[in-house]
């Protein structure tokens, strides 16, 4: 630690790559570019370019589905959160993902799939008309391209901190590589790389928890070490500390975790964010489309091993009873405390991995960042081409023209992302705003989509005004709690989260919950005030007006519901074990 700190202080970097590490990194870039050129020949039609030809098996769509969310920003951020908040961070991987993923597969996927929509805004157009599609497409397009820029900057920053690389070098190398393979191979190229990235992340990061647990002397010793370092048992339980806001390091209440995170935020993200839903839409039949999220959920449950456990290991390490690490918030970094929470994963990587393994770990991080960019840019090019350009600007172009537009919008999208990355580089607070912006749309969109799928009485006007009111209320609450004096912000937070002991993390959860409720309430009221949509027009779009086709499963082993039940049983078992 001392030597590392000295290296970081003297050179501004944590470590350096050996030739074998550089070889591993170069091999990754070579295969990624090869894949782009290789699949270009089979991405000539719009269905091939934007939906990967709808020919993916359940396993590929499922791994891609979970991998699209497993970017390095999330990996490093949640490993840092595990150091900061302990096991509570696991909720974002279990209750904050698993029920929603299963709900998508079993309940919602049939409607997305049999409506033959190409995007989530496309479904909104079929169900609620052009207004809801336009609103959703503009907000989604803007957010994805900004998030791609944030990913790009985050990668450049990590490479600078860990390896001392120049920020511009990282931005341009990453952006050009991603632009080439997505422009050439569209979603197909992105999906192949996401599956590769999933394997790479495990290959590069799984050694950290294995060696960390060996060093700690097992899970029980790790828990004892953490309790010794922190002076409390609160960091190694999932639920026992959630009885009151002040009883846990996150400052949240179980209602926020269950209803805010487990219901609204999670269902909003996993069932309506087109970035992840697009992967499942590429499935080659209805059964594969239903199975993909179930397979994704099974793998998602294992992710805390490589994200949460490294954070906990860092929290439990000590040297003769004195904690080995003292990580701080980004704005508290100093010569005495040179590392922030977000650097816990690279620090653990350097602790256990020498030349070769270090290159593998760094490659996994780079793959995660690039896949995050590719996911955002491929989703952006689809929504731009189908739901904005094709819907409002040029409705009658040829299929070939739309594919060309998809390729060019990939390049333009990437250039805007680069501009965003430089903007963020010059004003880091923009990163927080971009991430907050993303949260504005997710919860209300879930309200609109779920009512559209499950409630026949929901009308076009109801859907549009509900979505608008939910989004506006979310922005309003965020402004209310984010600006003004510290006293005002604390008061605003206590009102939104219903407790004076609530901390900022609780604000996100309760804001999502309220904005979802407002969206649902407005949709219901406006729907009852407007003329119902004739049932004939709802066929293929709404539960009760749509005969669900048989998914072709002939035995219990082939039924998605069977595997969903297995996953949910394991999910409950894990929550009880780590209660």
């Amino acid at each position: 630690m001392t030597a590392l700190a000295a290296l970081a202080f003297l050179t501004g970097q944590l470590t350096q790559l050996a030739p074998v590490d550089i070889l591993i990194l170069v091999l990754y870039f070579a295969i990624v570019l090869f894949i782009g050129f290789y699949v270009k020949g089979s991405t000539n039609t719009s269905e091939e370019f934007f939906l990967a030809g709808r020919e993916m098996t359940a396993w590929i769509a499922g791994l891609s589905f979970v991998s699209a969310n497993l970017g390095s920003l999330e990996l490093m951020g949640w490993a840092g959160a595990a150091y900061q908040y302990g096991m509570l961070a696991t909720h974002w991987y279990w209750i904050g993902a698993i029920p929603a993923m299963l709900f998508l597969g079993i309940v919602m996927m049939p409607f997305y799939y049999i409506s033959k929509t190409h995007s989530v805004p496309g479904y909104l157009q079929l169900r609620f008309g052009e207004g809801a599609r336009g609103l959703s497409a503009v907000s989604f397009g803007l957010m994805t391209i900004l998030m791609s820029g944030v990913n790009m900057y985050a990668m450049a920053l990590v490479m600078k901190v860990v390896l001392g690389w120049n920020i511009s070098f990282s931005i341009w190398v990453g952006a050009i590589t991603v632009a080439i393979y997505v422009m050439l191979g569209g979603l197909k190229s992105a999906i192949i790389n996401e599956v590769l990235q999933f394997v790479l992340i495990w290959a590069g990061a799984a050694l950290i928890p294995i060696l960390g647990l060996v060093e700690a002397g097992g899970w029980n010793n790790l828990k004892a070490n953490i309790a010794h370092n922190i002076g409390s048992n609160d960091y190694t339980h999932l639920w026992t500390t959630l009885g009151h806001f002040r009883d846990n390091p996150m400052g949240v209440h179980w209602t926020g975790i269950v209803f805010g995170l487990g219901f609204v935020v999670s269902f909003g993200y996993w069932t309506t964010d087109f970035l992840v839903v697009q992967r499942v839409l590429s499935a080659n039949n209805l059964r594969a489309a239903k199975m993909a999220p179930v397979i994704g959920a099974a793998f998602k449950m294992a992710v805390p091993l490589i994200v949460i456990v490294p954070g906990l290991i860092a929290l439990g390490l000590n040297n003769h009873g004195v904690p080995l690490f003292h990580l701080v918030g980004e704005n508290q970094v100093s010569a005495a405390n040179p590392y922030s929470y977000n650097e816990v994963l690279p620090l653990m990587l350097i602790r256990y991995c020498g030349p070769g393994l270090l290159g593998l770990g760094i490659t996994a991080l780079v793959a995660g960042f690039m896949s995050g960019m590719a996911g955002n840019v491929s989703a952006f090019s689809t929504v731009w081409t189908y739901d904005l350009y094709g819907a409002f600007i040029n409705k009658k172009a040829s299929d070939k023209h739309y594919v060309a537009m998809g390729r060019w919008s990939t390049v333009v999208g990437m250039l805007i992302s680069i501009a965003t990355a430089y903007l963020v580089a010059n004003a880091a607070s923009i990163m927080d705003y971009v991430q907050a912006l993303f949260s504005f749309f997710i919860a209300p969109l879930f309200g609109t989509v779920v009512l559209g799928m499950l409630w026949k009485r929901a009308t076009k006007a109801g859907g549009f005004w509900g979505l608008l009111a939910g989004t506006a209320s979310s922005i309003g609450m965020w402004v209310y709690t984010s600006f003004g004096t510290e006293i005002h912000k604390a008061l605003a937070l206590s009102r939104v989260a219903l407790s004076s002991d609530a901390r900022p993390m609780a604000e996100n959860l309760y804001r999502a919950l309220w904005s979802w409720l407002i969206c649902v309430a407005v949709t219901v009221v406006v729907s009852y005030m407007t003329k119902p949509t004739p049932e004939a027009q709802l066929a293929g779009l709404v539960y009760g007006a749509t005969p669900i086709p048989d998914d072709g499963a002939t035995s219990i082993w082939q039924k998605p519901i069977f595997w969903a039940v297995i996953v949910i049983i394991v999910f409950f078992a894990l929550n009880i074990i780590f209660f």
Binding site: G41, V199, A203, G354, G356
Partner: protein, 80 residues
């Protein structure tokens, strides 16, 4: 048809997964052996367990299995 890479393409997506991990295994395994048997271990925690060698071996076996199982075959099907 090769799984995941497109109609008419010969290479399955799983072949790429196998090939990449196999290549990494082939790089790491001899490097780990050189570190272990040549006493050139990196100054990392638990380097006495020779993680580079064992991890390289695991990747070689995993990658080798997938590469062979999903190798392109003339007129054959790679579908899983």
């Amino acid at each position: 048809m090769a799984t995941g890479t497109g109609r008419g393409e010969a290479l399955s997506i799983w072949f790429f997964v196998g090939a990449l991990t196999l290549v990494y295994g082939i790089v790491l395994l001899p490097y780990g052996a050189w570190e272990w048997f040549g006493h050139h271990e990196a100054h990392t925690v638990l380097n006495n367990l020779h993680p580079t060698f064992w991890w390289g071996l695991l990747l070689t076996v995993f990658g080798g299995f997938y590469t062979i199982r999903f190798r392109p075959r003339a007129g054959g099907s790679n579908k899983v």
